[in-house]
């Protein structure tokens, strides 16, 4: 596909998704919750389709339930109740680490542990991450300093950072890319990473000032989001490679599935949520 056509298609996906999310966020919280829930459910369906390839096993229903639980915890938390989401995320992360430890050291290759880990991971990776997008929109105003501007624009921050980095990486890689970055994702180049870092920083710097965020938070997110987004991208590529798939699905036709388009968001959203929470928290 030519650079112009591919770039235009990527941009169209980004603009239309952002426009829909923003209109819904401003119009009605429930509508935003439902559309993010829909994307998360579709991404989970793609994940379990991948995980069940080649005879893999996982408990889909439990995974969907875990994801729904995360997102409901993020939705309109009661006074100070956002900590329940934090506790759930921390417990799930701890459980995954424990399962991995058990599988590796104590009960090597026990199927039940693998199935449980694959199930829990689906809920955590997608539901947990998307709950952080919702969390940004539903952050209690008491948690935000007076400096932060429109609360309803906050949830766009991870999308702007991740998609600007993706755009920078794509254009730099296509125009001057030469040095291969990793065997996990053969199309990525070192020049693309340089472009992603600069694009992400500039976009976050400008958008952060539009939101009137504190400067230390803007600098932190501007430096961290491109790197973490690249990590999310490589991670999803490694999952696809593990299950020998080119794309996670065909939701966006030639541009892959929801997992492909939101891969960096799944890593960037929790980082942004917790950074905004802790940097702007009134102590």
């Amino acid at each position: 596909m030519s650079l112009n056509k591919d770039f235009t298609a990527r941009l169209a996906i980004g603009i239309s998704a952002s426009l829909i999310f923003l209109c819904l966020a401003w119009y009605n919280d429930v509508a935003l919750f439902l559309v993010i829930f829909f994307f998360a459910a579709f991404a989970m369906w793609e994940y379990y389709e991948l995980a069940l390839r080649n005879g893999g096993k996982s408990g889909k229903a439990a995974g969907y339930a875990a994801a729904a639980a995360f997102m409901l915890l993020a939705y309109r938390p009661p006074n100070g109740g956002i900590e329940r989401l934090h506790a759930a995320l921390a417990l799930c992360a701890a459980a995954l680490i424990a399962l991995k430890f058990i599988e590796n050291s104590l009960l090597f290759r026990v199927p039940a542990v693998s199935i449980l880990a694959a199930t829990l991971f689906g809920g955590f990776y997608i539901g947990g991450s998307m709950s952080c997008v919702l969390g940004l929109n539903f952050l209690d105003k008491n948690h935000l300093s007076a400096a932060v501007g429109d609360r309803h624009l906050l949830f766009l921050l991870p999308f702007v950072g991740a998609w600007a980095s993706d755009t920078g990486a794509y254009l730099s890689g296509r125009i001057v890319g030469k040095e291969k970055l990793s065997r996990i994702s053969p199309n990525k180049t070192v020049e693309g990473v340089v472009g992603a870092a600069f694009a992400g920083f500039v976009a976050i710097y400008i958008f952060g000032h539009v939101l009137n965020l504190p400067t230390p938070l803007i600098m932190f997110l501007g430096l961290a989001i491109p790197v973490v987004g690249l990590g999310g991208d490589l991670f999803e590529s490694s999952i696809k490679r593990r299950f020998q798939a080119k794309d996670s699905g065909a939701f966006f036709r030639n541009h892959g599935g929801v997992l492909d388009r939101f891969d960096s968001i799944f890593f960037v959203a929790p980082l942004t949520y917790f950074a905004v929470y802790f940097f702007t928290h009134r102590i």
Partner: protein, 55 residues
């Protein structure tokens, strides 16, 4: 950085070309970031206009 500068001075074609590619990638990245920020502002304005029209 010193190695790059030294390589450029010493006319090390490979390293100088790499430095140029990185510089070009950085410039493209800055341009992409500015472009994406403009797009984000446009999306915010469009959403605001749509909601004003709807309500």
């Amino acid at each position: 950085m010193n190695n790059w500068l030294h390589a450029i001075k010493a006319d090390d074609a490979g390293t100088a070309a790499r430095a140029q590619r990185y510089a070009a990638a950085a410039a493209i990245g800055v341009a992409a970031g500015l472009f994406f920020s403009a797009v984000a502002r446009m999306v915010i304005s469009a959403a605001s206009a749509i909601l004003t029209y709807v309500s």
